[in-house]
Structure formats: structure tokens, C-alpha cells
């Protein structure tokens, strides 16, 4: 359940943005989270709702954009691999695949009053 730690960091980042701009109310926080990070959306939302009370983000909604895992082979053209059959060896040549997307864990933007 490290989603609590993640939610806490998200709130602190959003509060930092609000304070620097002299705002006392965060309306929305937009996250970008890669498929290949150990984050469970429901658990994150649950933690966020519990932890935002009493902070500048008390009224904020959380939007999470999930970034699909993308991989490419050093030898072959780009290939997409689905998470349910996670295999980082190229199905064509057997070489290790490089992850090009799906490892993100970012606050993209914050909406404040």
C-alpha cells in the first residue's frame, strides 16, 4: 500500500504549486502514471480522498491518465507489448526490448483558484 505515500507526495506537490502562486484552493490535480509502475488506481484514489482533508487540496479532484507500456527492439521496428503477457524479449529476434513509455509517475498540472 505505498499508494498512501504516493498520494501524500501528490498533495504536497500540489500544495507547493498553490502556495507559490498565493492560492489557497486546489481544484484539480492531473497525474500521468505508467502501466509499468506499481500503482493501483483505486488504492491511490482512496488514499488521496483520505489524506487531502485539511490541506489546500481538500476540495481537489484527482485525474489519472494511464500511460500504456511501449517497448521497442534495438533490431526490429517498434513493437507494443500488452501488460497481461509481459515479456521484454523481442518476439521476433529474442533481443531485450527497451521500454520507451509506461514508466511515468508525474504530476502533469495543477488547477488552482
Amino acid at each position: 500500500m505505498h499508494e498512501a505515500a504516493i498520494a501524500q507526495s501528490v498533495i504536497e506537490i500540489a500544495e507547493g504549486v498553490a502556495r507559490r502562486r498565493g492560492s489557497t484552493n486546489v481544484r484539480k490535480i492531473k497525474l500521468r502514471i505508467g502501466e509499468f509502475r506499481g500503482v493501483v488506481g483505486d488504492a491511490l484514489e482512496f488514499s488521496f480522498q483520505a489524506l487531502k482533508k485539511g490541506t489546500l487540496a481538500a476540495n481537489a479532484e484527482l485525474e489519472v491518465e494511464t500511460i500504456r507500456l511501449r517497448v521497442e527492439c534495438r533490431n526490429c521496428a517498434g513493437i507494443e507489448v500488452a501488460m497481461d503477457d509481459f515479456n521484454l524479449l523481442c518476439p521476433r529476434c529474442g533481443e531485450p526490448l527497451n521500454i520507451t513509455a509506461g514508466r511515468e509517475m508525474q504530476v502533469e498540472y495543477v488547477e488552482i483558484d
Binding site: 505505498h2 509499468f36 509517475m105 502533469e108 498540472y109 495543477v110
Partner: protein
């Protein structure tokens, strides 16, 4: 109302603290290994075996992470090695701040090699960098062959996987090929060492590899 673009890494505060830990270790010439696994895979037994084989050549220390008790730190202390127990309460992983706080009372100045035994958990520890040089995972054969597929991230983050308890292979009902294939599919560059802490089989190979890693890290430091 206005929108402020942040593009900030959510774990940035942890990364920053981990960077400070790393500087602290580098200044003192301490090589740091983060040891991760599910509960019961044998991290502490691996440490005991590793310590026995390294303690004449290196000055060693261990930071132990558990939710509760000092049982693991007591096991390490019994080998004559300085050990510090972090009890996280209900937190399921160690993070950079916990290690930073431990360093206030646990002095690493005289150490060559520090092991940080993470909380037993296959998910969360993989996300929290603490300033270590090397991430190693212990995966016991009795956990079943599907663990890398179910928990790919920690395997992917580990440079070496110690496939532990191979003395129990006859009872595990799976083949070594299948275990290794599943690890390599989620983490193609990982080095696998099949070992048994009970019989000592394979432990020497792991030790030699670790020694090489420490030596090449030192060579890199010297060449700047």
C-alpha cells in the same frame, strides 16, 4: 481559476533524499546493496551466508527493515556485524528518509559494504530508491514459477536475482528452466544465481560476482 503546468515527478522528494544518501555513502567509500524479496524468501539467511564469506575481507554493516521486532538485526549482530533495525510500523517499504534518519545514529564511516535488507514485499520497495549502488532480489523456488509475471517491476529493477532454496527443488514441482525463463522475460539483463543457504550450493558464484561489482565500482571512482 488557472492551470499550472508542473511536470514534477511524484517521488521527487524521495529521489532528492536518496541523492543525499548516495553522496553520504560515496564520500565514505561505502558500497550499498539493497536486498529485496517477498516475506520468507530468505533475505536474512542470504545475508548471513554472504557475511560469513565476506567478513574477513570487508568491513560490513547491515540496516534491517521490518514492520516490527528486532529479530533480524539480532541475527546479524550475532555474527559480530554492526546492525541497525528500522521498524517501519505499518509502512510496507523502506524509503530514502528512513535510511537518512538511520544514518544519524548508525555510523557507516568505517564500512566498505552496507546491506540494506528491505521490508518483505514484492511490490512497494521497488519504487523507492534509497541511494544504493546495487539492487538484488531473493526469489525462493517454493514461491512458484509465476511470481516474475505477477510482480514484474521488482524483478525488472534488480540487477541480480538470487534463486534461493534450490535444495527444495524436488518438492517445488517446477523446473529450473521455467523459473529462469520467467525471470528473464520480465528482466532480460538480470543475472540469476541459483543458491541454497542450507547446503551452500551456488553461494560462492554470487559472492564472486558481488566482489567484482564492488571492485569495478571502486575502479570507476578512482578514475573519476
Amino acid at each position: 481559476m488557472h492551470q499550472v503546468v508542473a511536470n514534477t515527478d511524484i517521488l521527487e522528494a524521495n529521489e532528492r533524499m536518496a541523492g543525499r544518501n548516495r553522496e553520504h555513502f560515496k564520500e565514505r567509500g561505502v558500497y550499498v546493496v539493497n536486498l529485496m524479496s517477498a516475506p520468507g524468501a530468505g533475505k536474512t539467511s542470504v545475508l548471513e551466508e554472504t557475511i560469513r564469506r565476506l567478513k574477513n575481507d570487508y568491513s560490513l554493516g547491515v540496516i534491517e527493515g521490518d514492520l516490527m521486532t528486532t529479530i533480524d538485526a539480532d541475527r546479524i549482530s550475532a555474527l559480530g556485524i554492526p546492525a541497525y533495525q528500522i521498524t517501519t510500523g505499518m509502512v510496507c517499504h523502506l524509503d530514502a528518509r528512513m535510511v537518512h534518519n538511520a544514518l544519524h545514529s548508525f555510523k557507516v564511516d568505517a564500512l566498505d559494504l552496507l546491506f540494506i535488507e528491505n521490508v518483505g514485499n514484492l511490490v512497494c520497495p521497488a519504487e523507492f530508491y534509497m541511494g544504493e549502488d546495487l539492487r538484488v532480489m531473493v526469489y525462493s523456488v517454493v514461491e512458484g514459477a509465476d511470481k516474475p509475471k505477477k510482480y514484474p517491476i521488482m524483478f525488472h529493477e534488480s540487477e541480480a536475482v538470487l534463486l534461493n532454496k534450490i535444495d527444495l527443488m524436488p518438492y517445488a514441482g517446477i523446473s529450473m528452466d521455467e523459473l529462469c525463463r520467467n525471470v528473464l522475460e520480465v528482466s532480460p539483463e538480470t543475472v540469476i544465481f541459483p543458491i541454497s543457504c542450507r547446503t551452500g550450493e551456488g553461494v560462492e558464484e554470487w559472492i564472486n560476482w558481488l566482489k567484482q561489482r564492488i571492485a569495478s565500482s571502486r575502479a570507476e571512482e578512482r578514475s573519476g
